[in-house]
């Protein structure tokens, strides 16, 4: 048995905890560079704002409908997510944190009324952290996701489903005929794993509701579509095929790429940007205890603008696998200098660390020219560890390599984040104010 706990309009809900004046108003949170709406309050959804709507297209609603748009405050959302996940874990013995606002909980061995238990946890998350969420409970992960969707839709659109399924929906507690009715009222595209492409295909075959999909024989599904869809159908039929994923596997590549707040033509700001991206990627690399053997760097102009186009990347192989920021940054800058060409308006750049190996697999290489600098490497590892600790305690980039640029806020390529709320829970100087 599984539960899926999912925050409602997560980013917006986080903002509302500290700015109660946003309750009941249309609010959106904009992605990096204030580009598109990545979270919308229910009121914003009612204005017709779609997920991913570009900001310039909806900006007029600020004056016309009182829309409030905020820049993404990931520092805040990450901390609020930790709090929510920690409380959600109380629902069962095992947990898989699926994304920043979603978590599966394994319910094996949990006694008593699961629905009631879920209601209590939901109420606790709402009271303790201030975040509303939906909880779905079902015998398989795919059904739990569906149950969660029903819990949210039943709350947001009264009449779409029986009212007692709102907020917490336990499909395992429904008699078979009621379950059939609920699945018949749900579009097949809502099933986890049925995206727009597969959705079109099954609908072309006359399958429009989840009930119809579930009623297919698994051999038919495998023959006509794929073994992946067959697994989904088995899960819909109550056969658990997807288990909880306790530890995320280490990433095989680590990328850090950003679009610029304004076009960049000179080499120096690109050096700064590429150094910054390499530093951030190096930090993530060390966090997962890996080493990289190659560094890829790319720069590109904007394909949306009518300027001369330039789009080039280069792979810089490293003498030995490393997680050292200085070495990785040096390689990235070296690569950039190779591909940079003056006269173009660059809109985006990125660094990717490739060919990752676990740090326990360090191999010596055959050295012909220079003596093997093994003595230095342990000292450099300690330098990196100290740097990571300082940055975690005092804020990112407290200690950084010089080529990332000295004046942090005036770097011309820095992301536009003109509407970001304070770091209410992580910075002493930015906490919310209570009037006395």
């Amino acid at each position: 048995m599984y539960a899926l706990v999912d925050g409602n309009n997560f980013y917006v809900s986080c903002e509302r905890v500290f700015r109660p004046s946003l309750q009941g108003r249309p609010v959106v949170v904009l992605s990096n560079n204030d580009g598109c709406a990545v979270a919308r309050s229910n009121e914003a959804k009612e204005l017709g704002i779609k997920m991913g709507a570009p900001w310039f297209q909806i900006k007029h609603l600020e004056d016309e409908a009182g829309l409030v748009a905020l820049s993404a405050n990931f520092t805040l959302y990450g901390d609020m997510s930790d709090r929510m996940m920690s409380l959600a874990a109380g629902l069962g013995p095992t947990q898989e944190i699926y994304s920043i606002d979603e978590s599966f909980i394994g319910l094996d061995g949990v006694r008593g009324d699961l629905t009631e238990r879920a209601r209590k946890i939901r109420a606790r998350i709402n009271q303790w952290v201030g975040l509303p969420c939906g909880i779905g409970i079902a015998p398989t992960k795919t059904l739990a996701k569906l149950a969660n969707h029903i819990a949210k839709t039943a709350e947001r659109k009264p009449g779409s489903y029986p009212a007692d399924l709102a907020q917490v929906c336990n499909l395992a507690a429904l008699p078979a005929s009621d379950l059939d009715a609920v699945l018949a009222a749900t579009d097949v595209g809502e099933v986890w794993g049925v995206g727009p492409r597969i959705g079109k295909q099954v609908k072309a075959a006359g399958i429009n509701t989840v009930l119809e999909l579930r009623q297919l024989s698994t051999s038919t599904v495998r023959a006509n579509w794929s073994v992946v869809l067959e697994r989904t159908v088995r899960e819909l039929q109550g056969q658990s095929c997807i288990g909880l994923d306790d530890a995320p596997s280490a990433k095989k590549q680590i990328a850090c790429t950003r679009s610029f707040g304004q076009a960049v033509t000179d080499e120096l700001p690109l050096v700064e940007a590429v150094s910054e991206f390499a530093s951030r990627a190096a930090f993530k690399l060390r966090k997962q205890s890996s080493l990289a053997s190659e560094v890829l760097v790319f720069v590109r102009t904007s394909p949306f603008r009518d300027t001369p186009q330039y789009n080039r990347s280069i792979v810089v192989p490293l003498v030995r696998p490393t997680a050292n920021t200085s070495e990785l940054t040096a390689a990235a800058v070296q690569g950039l200098r190779h591909i940079y060409k003056p006269g173009f308006q660059f809109a985006k750049a990125g660094v990717m660390l490739l060919d990752l190996i676990p740090e326990t697999q360090r191999q010596a290489e055959l050295v012909f020219a220079e003596p093997y600098k093994s003595v230095c490497s342990e000292g450099r590892d300690r330098l990196m560890a100290a740097m990571d600790m300082l940055n975690e305690r005092f804020g990112r980039s407290t200690v950084h390599v010089a080529c990332t640029g000295a004046e942090r806020n005036t770097r011309e390529w820095a992301m536009k984040q003109e509407r970001r709320t304070p770091a209410y829970t992580t910075s002493w100087d930015q906490v919310a104010v209570a009037r006395a």
Binding site: R19, R83, V431, A432, V433, A434, R435, A436
Partner: protein
């Protein structure tokens, strides 16, 4: 404990280092410390001030209306959203979309917010409105040297 190996074959020694675990406590040459049996953890401020970590937030005070409770402008409040608010608690409430810190008065069916400063007025919920308590103030922190 007793080996059952036959001893007629030579036993291959491994060339790995022979690592022996160290004794747990440092073995002193002289006296054992008389404090050993009484060793207890130091006072941990976070443990004292934070009962419900997921529900605890810090807010800064701006204004004078709680002076008589010892809460001054610039103080840092430790606010716990997990505690059920009761009459007499100092709470952070939401009034007109803003956070305000006041005493909570809940008696005889009447709910209101009271200041701790005679020059300030009470706050009563408007017609049909309920008072929204955001959290209970458990401590106030004053820093003299930052």
């Amino acid at each position: 404990m007793y080996s059952t190996n036959a001893f007629d074959q030579p036993v291959l020694l491994s060339d790995a280092e022979a690592l022996l675990p160290m004794a747990g406590d440092r073995v002193q040459a002289g006296f054992p410390s008389p404090a050993e049996d009484f060793a207890v953890k130091r006072i941990d401020l976070t443990e004292v001030l934070v009962t419900h970590p997921q529900a605890t937030f810090l807010l800064r005070v701006s204004g004078e209306s709680m002076k008589d409770a010892g809460i001054f402008d610039g103080d840092m409040l430790v606010v716990d959203k997990a505690i059920k608010p009761r009459h007499g608690h100092i709470v952070v409430a939401v009034v007109d979309g803003e956070f305000t810190v006041k005493y909570l008065h809940m008696r005889a069916g009447r709910v209101k917010l009271k200041p701790a400063n005679v020059t300030f007025p009470e706050i009563l919920p408007k017609e049909g409105q309920t008072l929204e308590v955001w959290g209970v103030v458990t401590s106030a922190i004053k820093r003299f040297v930052c």
